[in-house]
């Protein structure tokens, strides 16, 4: 696609990181595209005001401002500038690990960002029953290629999850983030499975935090490299050692 044909997708944040950078270089030399973007901004500026009023839920102000003011304390060093068009710059720049943000902030980031190590660095990873926080500093200019991403769904649950296979620095990772999970009892864990035909392979274990959120990043290098995965699923297991699903599959998606 010619660069000038990417105006709409640029405006709607539909470009990949790489495409966006290319397009921004193009913008520097193409008056026409710059004008078109300004024009779109201008022509759409009234549209939000067509919104029908909806009353916010009880207590929202306290919750939102509480979270906002808590943020400042852990973020005081950051001063990233985002332009008027609010490009997703802050999500592409490497960050120091910020323990205070671990619990919930990752869920709120864009999936594109969730798939980079800068975020995985903040995800609580549980392997073999030992809890550890993966705190590797993010690789600068790492090239993440999202090979596939799917949303997992289940019949009997409000829970949902998004899984993605990404290739990063020659490593294949399966990342998954889930929310609205039921709380676990005792040694129970959520186990991620990749299925080739009927054969399940363990692909990461995680627990839910008190908000019902859980996530895992699993290196797929231990799995058969030539596998043609048919499905990804999550089951609730009695502990983190199940070699095949013992509990019910709560969420799944074909691949």
């Amino acid at each position: 696609m010619r660069e000038c044909e990417k105006v709409l997708d640029y405006f709607n944040h539909e470009l990949t990181e790489k495409e966006r950078e290319e397009f921004e270089r193009h913008l520097a030399s193409c008056d026409e595209c710059r004008e078109e973007i300004e024009e779109l901004q201008l022509l759409t500026e009234d549209l939000p005001f067509s919104t029908e009023p909806v009353d916010p839920p009880e207590g929202m102000k306290d919750r939102v401002l509480g979270a906002v003011f808590a943020e400042k304390e852990s973020d005081s060093q950051e001063n990233n500038v985002v332009s008027f068009e609010e490009r997703r710059k802050e999500e592409t720049e490497p960050k120091e690990p910020q323990p205070k943000r671990n619990n919930q902030r990752w869920v709120m980031r864009g999936l594109a960002a969730a798939l980079t190590l800068s975020l995985l660095g903040n995800i609580l990873v549980l392997t073999g029953g030992d809890e550890e926080v993966a705190n590797e500093p993010p690789a600068v200019d790492s090239t993440d290629i999202v090979n596939q991403r799917v949303q997992l769904q289940g019949e009997a649950t409000d829970a949902s999850a998004i899984a993605a296979m990404i290739r990063q620095n020659d490593k294949n990772l399966l990342t998954l983030q889930a929310e609205q999970l039921d709380q676990l009892q005792g040694d129970e864990v959520y186990q991620v499975w990749l299925l080739e035909g009927d054969k399940p392979y363990r692909a990461g274990t995680f627990v839910a935090n008190e908000n019902g959120e859980g996530a895992v990043a699993y290196s797929m290098d231990d799995l058969p490299a030539d596998a043609d995965w048919d499905a990804v699923a999550i089951s609730k297991e009695p502990d983190a050692t199940s070699e095949t699903p013992q509990g019910d599959v709560i969420l799944s998606s074909s691949l």
Binding site: H13, E39, E78, R88, G110, I162
Partner: protein
């Protein structure tokens, strides 16, 4: 904030916004709160319109105000009104979060029924009050196809190829059709504004 509701002119409001914004940059919590109070309902309602999902709206607002408070989003008054800026930030934050949460096909297949309205007043924000009915009327004056393309592009945040598919248009004509629809819309809105001023 109630006093603002009696202020008639938009320019006074945006000066007040700028004042709050600048104090907020210096770390004044009350100024952020003032901005919050003024825009809460508009932004909340707007995100619901974008996502058809009230559960996302609070999260989006939180992210928006974190961006303001941590200076990740910077307002430049030479580039437009504060209100336009904050709704723009909100739209992009919503688009990015919605995309993160949902498989694209799921989000786009979802029907975007009008959310249930719980209040019919827009008393907190004069600009909203002034513009809402005229913008809605202007949208109503567009053809169905034009309404659809505007909705898919602006409120659904669809890609060009998705719009082409949904509207059964060749990819290359999407931009032209969209611009035409938006220009019509702007013309209807300006006419309506002119009408109000003349009256």
């Amino acid at each position: 904030m109630m006093a603002l509701a009696t202020v008639e002119k938009g320019c006074v409001m945006s000066n007040r916004d700028l004042e709050h914004y600048q104090k907020m940059i210096d770390g004044d919590k009350e100024s952020l709160e003032a901005i919050y109070d003024k825009y809460e309902k508009l932004l909340y309602s707007f995100v619901i319109k974008l996502s058809s999902d009230p559960s996302l709206a609070e999260e989006v607002l939180q992210e928006v105000f974190i961006k303001l408070w941590t200076h990740k989003a910077k307002y430049d008054e030479t580039k437009g009104k504060f209100s336009s800026w904050i709704v723009t930030i909100t739209r992009y934050t919503a688009i990015d979060i919605i995309r993160a949460k949902k498989n694209e096909s799921v989000s786009l297949e979802e029907e975007t029924d009008m959310p249930e309205q719980q209040g019919d007043s827009v008393e907190d924000l004069v600009e909203w009050k002034e513009k809402s009915s005229e913008v809605r009327k202007a949208i109503d004056q567009l053809s169905d196809d034009q309404q659809k393309i505007v909705h898919l592009f602006y409120f659904q945040g669809c890609s060009q190829s998705k719009i082409a598919e949904e509207c059964d248009l060749p990819l290359g004509t999407v931009k032209g059709r969209l611009r035409l629809a938006l220009k019509h819309l702007k013309k209807h809105i300006s006419t309506a504004e002119g009408g109000i001023r003349d009256a």
